[in-house]
Amino acid sequence: MMYDTIDIALLLAKIALVFFVILTLAAYLVFAERKVLAWIQDRKGPNRVGPFGLLQPLADLIKLLTKEDFRPIGADKWLFYLAPAMAAIPAIMIFAVIPFGAPLTLFGHTVLLQVSDLNVGLLLFMALSSIAVYGVALGGWASNSKYALLGSIRGLAQLISYELSMGLSLVPVVMLARSFRLSDIVNAQSGCWFIVYQPLAFVIFLISIAAECKRIPFELPEAEGELVAGFHTEYSGMRFGLFFVGEYINIIVLGGLAATFFLGGWHGPFLPPVVWFSAKVLAFAFLFIWMRGTLPRLRYDQLMHFGWKILTPLALVNIVVTGWWLVLRG
């Protein structure tokens, strides 16, 4: 394969842009979460640093960077140091396959607003999201702490239960779009969003991604009421920050995927495509924050029961029904 210079420059520019936007957005999502939770609880939230508290993420960053990088006695040194990166990197990598806008034409080149238009994009998402659990599992195990170990065991069991229903809920989407390529999936929804055909799959996917990014009804790996802070109990400073930011990157990425699979990606009337896509991602982020402010945490057996005995069979039935519908429609 040969690339010319402009292609490579554009690719690098896109990667840099995506990195910058996602990391900034993740930092501000932390701020937004604190703000929205405060509003839900009739408080004001952070408002001291900068106008309306808008510089709060910067202050958090400085605090995290200047804290002591602590490693507990008996911790597995290399895995302990590597785990936060293993949690955050797959989350960012998934964003490579998400199309975040309609193709542009620049300098005579057609520029896809997507880092890589992979023909197995959906499978790449499945692969990377199942890899992301190693950060949680190894981080908790390497900490040499009982709370952290319990958190990581919960993380593993939760992943095994939810990865399946998440994958199965995406099968009807692939059947409708007839492609694993995410840009094809988006283009297949130019007329009608898939949420109209597949409301059940959407609900299953939404529940599964809430479990996937360890948000509140399913945040058992962290469970601050039971396990101190779960798998990142022993982490401090920027390593904790990496786990934390990774979680928010996960929210952005999974919100983007939900928008891509069910809400038509960047399709939408009047506004530019990038705006539509961002609006959908932010709406998902807001939904997750809102759920965190409302719902209680599930018990562990309830979660396993729900994943295996309700969501997975429902997703299977949904696949069969969709298959019949597609065959009958011809």
Binding site: K44, G293, L295
Partner: protein
């Protein structure tokens, strides 16, 4: 259908939190807006004077004994007229838990709690208050009480002239 009622319960919760998002926050922005604590709020401790201007404290050590964290210490002394007072009186506010047991224990109403709660400093030694810092020019919450008018020892008035006090009995007399 149980699942329908479950979903309805979830949505009810979501609706309630949604409504709360648009409610006025109840937060009081502390350094800018301050709320006035109630008069009986238990914060910084003071030593008061009686209505005549004398020190109420008789250095009886009861407050020091009542203090659960042992933050009060003093040295008693006695004037020539029999009036007792503290030579020095020290409260370590870095240890004080503001429980108010000292004020309850005080027989002369000398030690009292005030609503002033803003006594933070950067240097912890600034929180050790001496008698000069504690003593105020006022009666605090009880404006009339003077211990020596009820005590039956001749400090503020000759013996037998105090309120609800009988003249002293002449122990050498034979009359009943």
């Amino acid at each position: 259908m149980k699942i329908l009622s479950d979903i309805a319960a979830l949505l009810t919760g979501m609706w309630i939190t949604w409504k709360h998002m648009f409610r006025r926050p109840v937060t009081i922005q502390y350094p800018e807006e301050k709320r006035q604590p109630y008069p009986r709020y238990r914060a910084r401790i003071v030593l008061t004077r009686d209505p005549d201007g004398g020190e109420r404290c008789v250095a009886c050590q009861l407050c020091s004994a009542a203090c659960p964290v042992d933050c009060i210490s003093m040295q008693p002394t006695e004037d020539t007229d029999g009036r007792r007072s503290a030579e020095w009186f020290r409260i370590n506010f870095a240890r004080c838990i503001f429980c108010g047991l000292c004020a309850e224990a005080c027989p002369t109403l000398a030690i009292q709690m005030t609503p002033d709660f803003e006594i933070c400093t950067r240097d912890i030694m600034d929180l050790v208050y001496e008698k000069e810092d504690l003593l105020i020019d006022g009666c605090g919450k009880s404006s009339h009480y003077n211990f020596y008018r009820h005590a039956g020892i001749g400090v503020t008035q000759p013996r037998g002239n105090g309120a609800e006090e009988l003249p002293p009995v002449d122990v050498r007399g034979l009359l009943p």
